[in-house]
Symmetry: C2
Subunit: 340 residues, 2 copies
């Protein structure tokens, strides 16, 4: 193989407040020769996800910060183009953490880094979305924390997103009522009409937690049994005010205020008076549940029963702008960058 140039995006500075394109830098690096046991993957799609914002800062979080002047981490799907491992052959379709770059050199022996996937019935890009980390995130929070029973009402915020959309459809598959919360008429229409939620509330139409609570009450007059939280703040306050006794809340995402200060929970007494369970999680800590989750998610996608939408940016150079747009909610569905 002639020397190949790998284009990569590095994090070169940490944002103060809002991230900007200046925090990133596109560089070109020659690919090193493969060592024994290594695999060269051509990345086809890069996944952009909100968690990456957390990694850009040095604050206390559940994960190590992204090191400066190194390739931004990120999930990828692609194809093996060269291999010095018996586990992979050129042509294999794989999912992994290839990062913001066109090629990734991967140690094939390191468990969990690279996984072969079958694209007969499931499109390759879906392994970054409905049949990937966002799908498993939805599955884990819903199935393992909320534990929904047929007939119960389940609410999910960011319902038009990759995670939220899967939460509602998985809940529907279990005989529940699914109520979404999303921003804007177009997203709400998609959530109801395309994803099949029973209702979707446009939070932009409601000026505060009390107004949002009233909208939830109208959509779920008998109360909320379970909630999948992607947002926090006023949305969580509103859901808490409408939740039923023994309600379960899976906490998957929490925004902070404009200045980075945490947004308080208005009425934590409800945890006691309604005997609630609130549980935070990150799906990477529950690898033992991935096979079961991926099996259900793959079957549902193959059967056309788990729908999703993708926002696809074209080419690695577009990744920073696409990521900044994602943080502002400009994407619609799973945000990807097409690299091939």
């Amino acid at each position: 193989m002639a020397e190949t140039i790998n284009r990569q995006i590095l994090l070169v500075s940490r944002p103060e407040g809002e991230p900007s394109a200046a925090n990133f830098k596109l560089v070109e690096t020659p690919l090193p020769a493969l060592r024994e046991g290594q695999v060269l993957v051509r990345n086809h799609y890069l996944s952009l996800d909100p968690y990456m914002r957390g990694r850009m800062s040095e604050g206390k979080s559940y994960a190590e910060p992204q090191p400066l002047n190194q390739v931004m981490i990120g999930g990828t799907v692609g194809e093996v183009v060269d291999s010095r491992s018996e586990q992979f052959r050129p042509g294999d379709k794989v999912v992994g953490m290839g990062g913001w770059q066109e090629y990734a050199v991967v140690d094939a022996g390191q468990r969990g880094l690279l996984r072969k996937v079958d694209t007969t019935h499931v499109p390759l890009s879906a392994y970054l979305g409905a049949v990937g980390m966002p799908g498993v995130t939805a599955w884990y929070g819903l199935v393992r924390i909320i534990d929904p029973q047929a007939g119960q009402t389940i609410v999910v915020s960011s319902a038009s997103g990759a995670v939220g959309g899967a939460v509602g459809q998985l809940a529907k598959a279990r005989g529940c009522r699914a109520i979404g919360i999303a921003g804007g008429e177009e997203k709400c229409r998609y959530v109801q009409e395309e994803l099949g939620f029973d209702a979707c509330i446009d939070y932009k139409q409601h000026k505060d937690a009390a107004a949002l609570a009233a909208a939830l009450r109208a959509a779920a007059p008998d109360g909320i049994h379970g909630h999948f939280e992607n947002v926090g703040g006023q949305v969580l306050d509103a859901v808490l005010s409408e939740i039923k006794p023994h309600g379960r809340i899976a906490v998957c995402g929490m925004i902070s205020g404009y200045n980075g200060e945490p947004i308080p929970m208005k009425n934590p007494q409800l945890i006691l008076t309604q005997r609630l369970k609130l549980q935070g999680f990150i799906v990477g800590e529950h690898m033992q549940d991935w096979p079961e989750a991926l099996k259900e998610l793959g079957s549902l996608v193959a059967a056309g029963k788990l729908k999703y939408r993708e926002s696809v940016a074209d080419g690695l150079a577009q990744a920073p702008e696409a990521f900044l747009g994602l943080l502002k909610g400009r994407n619609f569905g799973k945000q990807l960058v097409k690299l091939v």
Copy 2:
């Protein structure tokens, strides 16, 4: 049996703000004749508990409000003095919900209302405390929600109270480090020296959540694995700031502010970033766990390994004042009223 006069305390008005003695009224009522299946119990001790404050109001809570002009509800231990049931004989020692009165007429057939207890190794009054509802509350929150492992650090607020004291001792029995939070030097000394906690923090010495958090950090430099919350507010904020990843918080009590408004939780984002579980509970909803809990609690008390203290008011007429004192934290240990 000659006509016996039963002295009773009724709730005659609902408090606006702080309850007062005027909300209660002592009345004398002739005891009715027993019907078939009924038992007459002479109450020896009445238990006073914070939950009664909630029942005095009509607000949204987990239980029905106490009806006006009826005998205040409350747990009691006593002795059967007359019986028209085959299940109980005069002389039987029993625990039940006899209410604020000297005698109780109980339908023996109604499941769970009256339970015979063995006073060979456990004093009768302990069935209202360490081997009763407070003990089982401690056991359930610690064992079923916090699920402590040997070597872990467990914090409990109101550590000198009937529930809190049992939480720490049950944690110690499981090989944990127990850290109490209590109000005042005398209570803290009791928690450490008599109950055997590893440390106790006097919250009155710390002006805000940050100062309390610093004291917790000094007592638990490696962080907190589990917390049993009897208080909420600043205490919960302080514990949250020192909790370890995957920490579990059993929510058993939550105060509100002076005007009855809820006190916000300052940083709910920690639920996500630390992947916490917060769970509220009331022990009456978990009757299936009582036998296991009571068995352990009874054995520990009989063996002298579960210590407790009682504040005993003398005579039914003292019950309202003792209850108001309890709400102000004037009691020291389990608050009882001796009726015989």
